[in-house]
Amino acid sequence: MSKHPVPDAAQVKDLLGFLFDGIAVKAAPKLDISPNSGNFLAVYVADDGAPVALAACNMGFAANAGAALSMLPPNAAKDAVKSKLLTPAMNDNLREVMNICSRLMMRDGSGHLRLDQVFQSKSLPAAAAAMASAATGRADFEVTLGKYGAGALSLLTV
């Protein structure tokens, strides 16, 4: 049993709905979080600094959320997906969104966790990679942000 809970689609929609209009969330197949996937991984640590949770997303979610938070045009997100490169503003916004996602993995009685860093998959530190392998809780979602489109978001906890 995971010490930190993973949310269901309704809980993800409720929280991210505070940030994004026209959001839809549904369960999705497992997102590839291997080093060569090119996906983004946010590492959450407990108060003692040990990694206890991860949020993973693909370029689609990263670009859409990164653009939508500052209301950048949807084409900016599409350009980022095409070039596989987030702008500095999108990077900052992705960190903001991942920081908020920490609340999805805390409940009354579960330990406190906080966002440490956001990495691209190939740069994930060994301790966080080991945590990902040992994760006992996992939920994968397709998140559609209105006119920006769909992306993948996964949450893993120990």
Binding site: F18, L19, L69, E96, I100
Partner: protein, 117 residues
């Protein structure tokens, strides 16, 4: 005025205020205590809703600086984690309330309603 270094948190607080029925008010924002202090000195808001941990000037430092400057502004904290020590320090410094978990429209309404007419 909403004071928080996270844009996403400011958006969440603003939306929660609307859900709690405070949509008749105008909201301003500042991204740290120092910027809030500068803005409040020029135009004091009805109420300041501040995060605790922020770069440049924390929320409690902001409150203490407002008091030192003789600026009497209604002040409350919204923070994800709140220890007994934080609550005690906030109350001693003159904070009207400290909202932690649960972070809902109901908890906002209960905390703010006595201070916003």
């Amino acid at each position: 005025m909403i004071v928080d270094d996270s844009l996403a948190m400011r958006m969440i607080v603003r939306k929660t205020l609307r859900l709690a029925g405070f949509d008749g008010h105008e909201f301003s924002e500042a991204e740290d205590g120092a910027k809030a202090l500068a803005a409040i000195t020029v135009a004091p808001p009805d109420l300041v809703l501040s995060d605790w941990n922020m770069p440049n000037m924390t929320g409690i430092e902001l409150l203490e600086n407002l008091t030192k400057a003789g600026l009497k502004v209604k002040f409350g904290f919204v923070t994800t984690e709140a220890t007994a020590e934080m609550r005690s320090r906030a109350a001693s410094a003159g904070a009207r309330f400290l909202i932690s978990k649960p972070f809902t429209a109901e908890s906002f309404k209960e905390a703010l309603e006595p201070h916003l007419k």
